[in-house]
Amino acid sequence: MIGRGLERALGILALIGLVTGLYSAFVYAPPDAVQGEVQRIMYLHVPLILVSYLAFFVVFVASILYLARRRERHDAIAHSSAEVGVLFTALAIAAGSIWGRPTWGTWWTWDARLTTTTILLLIFIGYLMLRALVDDPSRGAVFSAVLGIIGFLDVPIIHMSVVWWRTLHQPASVLRPGPSTVAPDMQVALYTNLAAFVLLYGYFLAKRLRLEEARWELTRLRMEGVG
């Protein structure tokens, strides 16, 4: 699927990207005018969230492809991307929560983006649990594909509903916690970190795919009555 060479290249590029990203987040970018130094967590939180959305989009596409073509590769990509996506989402929420504590005085706020992201996390944890519980691999693949599709389709609806729920529930003076990336050097830092995390996602996906490859091979051998 993904050759060792490409996997290694992705790993090295990701590492370079992350180091550059760290530098831009802590040295290059200035502290935020309003939030101060704490805002630097956003260079971690925002890329993690955006890349997790990417990961779940990949699950969505791979799930559709699997239902249409039934190629193991698509199922492998869906499963791997879901796992990496759940990891990135969980870390994003944790980082956001840690950011929130000194900024808002609370570990949690029910703001629209954090709420939607948590729901997304729950949906795809459910996806992984479903996979773990279905014994027959091809049936599990089909079920997961369906769940992956409807789960992702639901995300815009969830987002809309939570945003409406918040704005019609609270007065509009509630500020949305988020990156105040107006300054251009802060934007540079953000995009650098974003690129780094995309590369990291690619690397993780490649590594995780190897595990799926091996698992599918094992399944095939078992089904052929070997061992």
């Binding site: 101060g36 130094e37 704490v38 630097r40 971690l44 993690l48 969980a90 840690i98 091996a214 051998l221």
Partner: protein, 60 residues
């Protein structure tokens, strides 16, 4: 909302423990995941090798 620590330009609360915590947590989580994937792949490969070996034995 009550006393907002960030209101005075981030003066009162020291942000660095939080920043460190966030980045260390993320780094730890990412590394931990890499290790988990490596471990699981190794285990899966061992299983595969065992299955292939036993098939060779029954074949010969």
């Amino acid at each position: 909302m009550g006393a907002d620590p960030a209101e005075d330009g981030g003066g009162r609360v020291n942000p660095w423990p939080y920043i460190l915590a966030a980045y260390l947590l993320a780094g730890g989580g990412l590394l931990g995941y890499l290790l988990s994937v490596s471990r699981r792949t190794k285990a899966m490969r061992a299983q595969l090798a065992a299955v292939k070996r036993s098939s060779k034995e029954t074949a010969s």
